[in-house]
């Protein structure tokens, strides 16, 4: 069963906080502002996928990605 997952490349993230502002349920930020997916990052619903795509499109650092994963 393949699943889609949202990922954040911590090498690229500069803490703009755009993803967190847009989808606080999907991303969390540490005390310096660097983002990581909440939990396992698995996109469970079409709304999740849409939100993750918006995060991808709005990250100025191109740090966010959606990958296929063996669930």
């Amino acid at each position: 069963m393949k699943v889609q997952k949202v990922t954040v490349d911590s090498e690229k993230c500069q803490g703009h906080n755009r993803c967190y502002a847009m989808a606080p349920g999907m991303f969390k930020v540490d005390e310096l502002g660097y983002a990581t997916p909440r939990g396992d990052g698995v996109l469970k619903t079409p709304q999740d996928v849409e939100l993750a795509n918006r995060a991808v499109e709005n990250c100025p650092e191109r740090a966010i990605d959606i990958v296929e994963d063996e669930g």
């Binding site: 310096l32 502002g33 709005n58 100025p60």
Partner: protein, 408 residues
């Protein structure tokens, strides 16, 4: 008066009145013709205007150093320098870390700032900012007119940053004068720039000595208590950072607030939308940041390099035209239109890469609060006369005189 510009790709002038007033068609022209424009004016520089180029150059810190970030760094003519005591220069010739630092210093210097400027910590100043906005509005609401730049936008950031640093808020007018002297008027007037910088450094140095004698609950005290690799952060570093906080935190945010007011004054449909759909505000702020990005930074070319087939010699200056990148049609659909609910907006108004503006969360909070309060109290305001609005250009673009009226 400088010669008028005939050729924007080979002889641009970012201080020309035409460019300051309406740079957008000029950027379009350059973007369409020439990836990296060049000029000999103001000490000479190269200027990218395409999003992709700004993105790449900002991230190439090996070739494009931040040791000098001023867009025009005109030196005083021999004999015109300020007379200075050598030990005085010693005291304040400390740069403005981390904006003027390259790694490895940049890495720890930036960390010092990220926490106090995080979303969570910035939120602690929101209520105070809201009260401040209302005090400002109280002072002019019954008059039916105000200057949206001078009486409102310009008043907010200096007071918020003063509050963070624990310095007297009645210094606002003085700070504003110093910062403009350094960053606006001083860019083309080296003596004024030097004098303004000295005033800021001397003032901040006094504040640091005061905090050492009597620690407070403020950012200066906090920076003095920080350690790097087990050692206290050098005092000269704290001084440079305090200088940066004042210079970077005032002109920039006030320009953004002013541009947002300028836009909303002319777009009743956008005002209506924000009043009816307050949840749209965060997205609208991003869009206003994109469309009216205030800041152009510079980079210093650390070694002979080449970009997009264009040779760029060591020692050159590159103007980081983030505002032009944010209107690139390759990335933004209908870039010249302000679309409050724009879905795809990876704007780089705060820069991109390791020098991403450390104060971005504070700037966003101030923009959001100031626009919310203004719309709440004065839902219908317009420009009194669009022709009398003046703009500052160069390093930081925003309205400086902007009479607005309401109520009739």
């Amino acid at each position: 008066m400088a010669e008028p510009v005939g050729n924007w790709t080979a002889d641009y002038d970012i201080f020309s009145p035409e460019y300051v007033k309406d740079p957008f068609p000029i950027w379009d022209e350059i973007r369409g013709k020439c990836p990296i424009a060049h000029t000999e004016r103001w000490g000479g520089s190269f200027m990218p205007t395409r999003y992709e180029d700004l993105f790449n150059i900002a991230r190439d810190i090996e070739n494009f150093s931040s040791r000098n970030v001023l867009v025009a760094d005109v030196m005083p003519q021999p004999g015109e320098e300020l007379e200075e005591e050598p030990e005085m220069v010693e005291t304040y010739n400390v740069g403005a870390p981390p904006i003027t630092s390259d790694p490895p210093v940049h890495t720890w210097a930036r960390k010092l700032l990220l926490k106090p400027f995080s979303v969570t910590e910035v939120a602690e100043y929101e209520q105070e900012t809201r009260e401040l906005c209302n005090e400002l509005i109280d002072a002019f609401i019954d008059k039916g007119r105000a200057d949206g730049a001078v009486d409102y936008a310009q008043q907010i950031p200096p007071r918020v940053i003063a509050s963070m640093l624990g310095i007297p808020k009645d210094m606002t007018a003085t700070f504003t004068e110093w910062v403009r002297g350094f960053l606006e008027l001083g860019l083309t007037n080296p003596q004024l720039r030097q004098e303004s910088a000295r005033n800021i450094f001397m003032f901040m140095n006094d504040q640091i000595q005061e905090r050492k004698a009597k620690p407070g609950d403020d950012l200066i005290t906090r920076l003095l208590a920080e350690k790097v690799e087990g050692e206290p952060v050098p005092e000269s570093h704290v001084l440079g950072t305090c200088f940066l906080l004042l210079v970077a935190g005032i002109d920039t945010t006030w320009s953004s607030i002013g541009s947002a007011v300028w836009h909303l004054a002319q777009h009743p449909e956008d005002r209506k939308r924000l009043i009816e759909q307050p949840e749209l505000m965060p997205n609208a702020i991003e869009e206003l940041l994109r469309a009216y990005s205030p800041v152009t930074m510079a980079r210093y070319v650390a070694q002979d390099t080449e970009y997009a087939g264009c040779p760029i010699p060591e020692g050159s200056k590159v103007l980081m035209n983030f505002p032009a990148a944010n209107r690139d049609p390759k990335v933004f659909e209908d870039p010249d239109k302000v679309i409050l609910d724009r879905a795809k907006n990876p704007h780089i108004a705060f820069g991109v890469g390791i020098h991403r503006c450390a104060g971005s969360n504070l700037a966003r909070m101030e923009m959001k609060v100031s626009i919310e309060e203004l719309l709440k109290r004065i839902p219908n305001f317009k420009l009194e006369n669009p022709d009398v609005v003046t703009w500052a250009g160069g390093q930081v673009r925003g309205p400086r005189i902007m009479p607005i009226v309401w109520g009739s």
